[in-house]
């Protein structure tokens, strides 16, 4: 068990981060904090991909290499793409939050629910 933790602590940490992210999405009433939770959730996945590609003592995957072990370049490329997607998502989400704020004058979900129920 101890050995497992010592070897896989990165995965453990990243899944704790994942849990924090999803907890923020569910439990936070503030819409901006919800979006931060989504970002945290995504970032944990990105870091998980990076941790997956890590090779003990591996060199950067640049041609030509001197016969040493190299880290896998594919997850890093994937994460670059996923980061771009995540940024686009955050931008759309923030612009929606701005629109909601200008219409309802609140960022809190519980207040928003009351305002909408009154209408």
């Amino acid at each position: 068990m101890i050995e497992l933790l010592a070897n896989r602590y990165a995965y453990l940490l990243l899944f704790v981060l994942l849990g924090i992210g999803i907890y923020m999405i569910i439990a936070n009433e503030n819409l901006v904090k919800k979006l931060i939770g989504v970002n945290l959730f995504q970032t944990a996945i990105f870091l998980f991909f990076i941790a997956m590609a890590y090779v003990e003592g591996g060199a950067a995957p640049i041609v030509p290499n001197e016969g040493s072990e190299v880290a896998s370049p594919l997850p890093q490329v994937i994460v670059l793409t996923a980061i771009v997607v995540g940024i686009a998502m955050t931008a759309v989400g923030l612009s929606l939050i701005i629109r909601i704020y200008s219409e309802y004058g609140t960022l809190r979900e519980d207040t928003l629910r009351e305002v909408r129920a009154d209408e």
Binding site: L18, I22, I25, L31, K34, L35, V38, F41, Q42, I45, F48, F49, M52, L74, P75, I78, T81, A82, V85, A88, M89, V92, G93, L96, I97, R99, I100, E103, Y104, L112, R116
Partner: protein
């Protein structure tokens, strides 16, 4: 025709590149959006049809390797018997919606940009042969969908859009975790390579976890029961021109992608041996069917009712997938494919009809549909046909899909699924019958009460002065209605020159200054066409199964 594989990247790239044009040209020309979208959509529709003919005449998949890299490293685009019908559906519905938005839809250039981006992303979902690319295209189409949902009139649409954005992003991220696990266990991302590597992988628990994450991600995207809450809001709040596109295509493409992951990546034989996989998929699907129809029955808003109906119809498709991986039955997969295409077409037609009625008539709730058949006979008739096909009345595509799914369930000895299909058909009849009864057998209400948006209707001054007893014999059951001027030509606010004003402000009075009908010929023609195709496809159900045959033998060998 050796270069037919070039069509695959072209179909994806053309709409995505063209999506820049409406905004860019919009700086100079105000109405640039529609022509650009029309040219692009017509082009990709023609491309999709020729691709389909190439795939079905040659019988084998058309494969394009981007940059000529071998598929171990590179990205592959694949068109086979399962993905090509979805591509044709996407392009056909996109073209139909475009014809509709010519007069009705949101006309802004940004709408057409989002529309083209959505089309490109959906074609990408259908054609990609790489699990990570699937994630990217899912997110491209989702981003366009968030933008389209939140472009509705009221502030409510922004709330619905944000809800969808948060849940949709979590869903896509769940899928991404699943992809990460698969990559960890096998070291590849290509679907074909994964199919070979998964049964031999050492870390089987990792692959089971991957399946669980992928399933939860797609269950959210497809709006399965406990995870469906974003969907009715999104469908209801989206602008009328955008709902048909979103309702017919976004969930359909996700459901297709889930089926593709099941049959191609994990493989039916592997999933049959995976403990509890089929039980969970079947259970989620069946519960969605029942919950969706039950919730649809109690809805008052027509768009919302149809949205809950989507929850149940996609539950049927997911249950069919569960049947497929329970006992490796081909029949259920044919049913799922038929139902995917058929349901996409039906929902597009229905939401188009709802949009046309809302534009021309201001009716949004079931009660407001009273007497519609007399005012808009063609529109009401096509809507009735579409609703009956949705229930599953035999010569329609809805029946064929349900029939194959039920047959597959019986073959696989999964009797509860067949029972659920029967029960859901009854419940579907309950909510469609309510709408049909309102349209055909309830006399039209008086003008003052008939519209929740009152002032526009009250302004018909021409109606009250005209006390002639009309010729509508079947209205005599309602004595009170006879006092009202019941002549359709005068009573209809449209005919009296009153347009429905979405802002609730006073409509134009009946001075005749405005005579153009807001429901254009193109809008009605699109709905009628959808109804005709929905019935015609029902007759072609057997042919569709034959067309799928090469793909099925590939999957179930």
């Amino acid at each position: 025709m050796s270069s037919v594989d070039l069509l695959l990247p072209l179909l994806i790239v053309a709409p995505i590149l063209a999506s820049v044009l409406p905004v860019a040209l919009g700086l100079r020309y105000e109405r640039a959006g529609w022509p650009v979208a029309a040219i692009t959509t017509t082009g990709i529709f023609a491309g999709a049809v020729s691709l389909a003919s190439a795939v079905f005449t040659e019988g084998g998949p058309v494969i394009h390797r981007l940059g000529n890299y071998p598929r171990e490293y590179g990205i592959e685009l694949v068109a086979d018997g399962f993905s090509v019908p979805i591509v044709v559906l996407v392009t056909a519905v996109a073209a139909g919606v475009l014809a509709y938005t010519r007069l009705a839809g949101p006309r802004g250039n940004t709408f057409y940009s989002a529309y083209l981006l959505l089309t490109g992303g959906l074609i990408g979902i259908s054609l990609t042969g790489d699990v990570f690319n699937l994630f990217v295209f899912l997110e491209i189409s989702s981003l366009a969908t968030y933008a389209l949902v939140s472009s509705g009139d009221g502030p409510e649409s922004a709330v619905a859009g944000l809800k969808y954005l948060i849940l949709g992003t979590v869903a896509a991220s769940m899928y991404l975790i699943g992809v990460g696990f698969l990559f960890m266990a096998t070291g590849t991302l290509n679907m074909i390579e994964l199919a070979a590597a998964i049964p031999e992988a050492e870390a089987q628990p990792l692959i089971r976890a991957a399946f669980a994450f992928v399933f939860v991600g797609f269950a959210l995207k497809v709006a399965q029961w406990p995870l469906h809450t974003w969907q009715p809001d999104a469908y209801q709040q989206a602008p009328d021109g955008a709902t048909p596109l979103i309702a017919a295509l976004v969930s359909s493409a996700s459901a297709y992608a889930f089926g593709r992951i099941l049959v191609t990546v994990f493989g039916v034989d592997y999933l049959v041996s995976m403990p509890y996989a089929s039980e969970i998929v079947v259970a989620v699907g069946c519960v969605s069917v029942l919950a969706g129809t039950t919730l649809a029955v109690v809805q008052r808003d027509v768009k919302r009712m149809l949205a809950y109906s989507s929850v149940s119809q996609f539950g049927l498709i997911v249950a069919a997938y569960g049947v497929v991986i329970h006992d490796a039955t081909e029949t259920a997969l044919v049913g799922a494919a038929v139902h995917l295409v058929g349901h996409g077409l039906l929902k597009a037609g229905l939401f188009l009809a709802v949009g046309a009625i809302a534009v021309g008539y201001g009716a949004r709730t079931v009660d407001e549909y009273a007497g519609l058949a007399k005012r808009r006979p063609v529109l009401a008739a096509s809507m009735a046909v579409l609703l009956l096909v949705l229930v599953g009345v035999p010569p329609g595509v809805g029946f064929v899909g349900k029939w194959y799914i039920a047959l597959g369930a019986v073959e696989a000895q999964l009797w509860p699924v067949a029972a659920v299909i029967f029960l859901s058909t009854m419940l579907t009849l309950a909510y469609t019958a309510r709408l049909l009864e309102k349209m055909y057998f309830t006399p039209a209400p008086e003008l003052e009460t008939g519209h929740g948006h009152g002032p526009g209707a009250v302004a018909t001054d021409g109606g009250d002065g005209n006390g002639d007893a009309d010729a509508d014999g079947d209205d005599s059951v309602d004595a009170a209605a006879d006092d009202e001027p019941d002549d359709g030509a005068i009573e209809t606010p449209l005919a009296a020159g009153v347009s429905y004003d979405p802002s609730g402000g006073p409509g134009r009075d009946g001075t005749g200054g405005r005579s153009s009908d807001p429901v254009s010929f193109g809008m009605v023609a699109t709905v009628v066409l959808a109804a005709v195709i929905a019935v015609a496809l029902g007759f072609a159900g057997g042919a569709f199964a034959d067309v799928l045959e090469p793909f099925l033998t590939e999957v179930f060998n």
